[in-house]
Amino acid sequence: MLGTWRTGTAASPLAEFNLELTSFDGPFDLLVHLIENQGFDITTLSLLAVTSQYVSYVETLQRKSAFAEATAEFLAVASQLLLLKSQAFLPSQTNDDEDISEAQSLADRLRVYSAYRKLAGELDEIQLSEMPLFPRLAVPTGIAPEIPKNWQDVSDLVFAIEAMLEQPEENGISVTLPFSRFSLKQRIDSVRDTIARVREVTFDVVASECGTRMEVVYTFLAIMYLVAQRGVSVRQSKAFGQITISIAEHQD
């Protein structure tokens, strides 16, 4: 059995459902659990039947501000469910077909999700009884490579990067990333100022003022720009480790 939910505490308003708040991998996981818990099949009707349980779960989740980001996904589905339910109780004169198809489409998506959830459970069982095979980790041995000297120009590396970054336009659609020169320049100035002030700072600190992932990307680009200008140097002692940015020490 795949369930990863834990037993709710007595204090939890959800104790009756035996749910613990952080244990669901998204709104569909919760919905399928609630529906299967009642012994229902996944239909539009069973969606309506579990709406109030679902909503009370999400309300509790919302009170935990640490999960604000996750809550958005739960909330979106909650509002969809509440809308469906209100329409079921107060049949509107118009758009009947549309309402039905919306509920239908949510139920369809849940059925697809539920099928993969079952497969995940089967993979979990193979994983639990796993007898993994190991590939070789070694770099080929016994054949010494001959490395020619001065064989290729180092600028080839840069050409390779440029070629890699060149994004072909598909079907005439050009992808415009939401970068504006102004904000990138702003970001560069801001990072340069920070480093001039404190001489050394970690990437996490610089990125902590970013509200969106795009701004984190900006910040990274700004640092790359400053590195290229030899204004700063960047140290990362291990991959995924802390990146430290400091004023470049110029060798004269």
């Binding site: 795949l2 990863t4 999700y113 497969l119 007898m131 993994p132 095979l133 590939p135």
Partner: protein, 193 residues
Amino acid sequence: MPVSEIGPSSSPEPDAALEDLDLELLVEALLFVASGPISPGDMREATGADEAAIERALQNLKAHYVDRGIRIILHGDSYQMCSAPAASRSCRILLGMNSNQKLTQASLETLAIIAYNQPTTRAQIEHIRGVNSDSPLSLLAARGLISPVGRGDQLGRPNLYATTAGFLAYFGIESLDDLPEADLPGPSSDGYG
């Protein structure tokens, strides 16, 4: 351009007129030195033998290794040597790996969607799961169970993910055909694919 006299030339003449036994030796060595799956085409190029002879050599090798400490697994149309399942515990000890790092439900769901729909995009995975899947995706990639295999035609040219030979090895199966049978309603056709 300096030409090395002992190194293979840029249009190598592979060993000609190979006896089957010699070819088996070469294919065995190739499977051994390769650090990932290799195709019969790679082997043809490296040995100069014809495809039929290579297929024979591969079948003989697979049969030879069926009860030994090494296995030959098939990933797509490519072959890779791995340790045998019966040796997994000893290998784990030698390699200092502990077995507590099981995949979570989020990772398993993500992996199942990729395994049965490969190649697929993050958007498709998130559409099916109904939840952001960045974190399981990066975890699965870091563990070498999935890897990007190209970019989709959609806006932004998103990465397309597929399972790797390491995925087969992790679950101890010899090819994708050994995956549990799936009863899937089919990917939805609403433009996320």
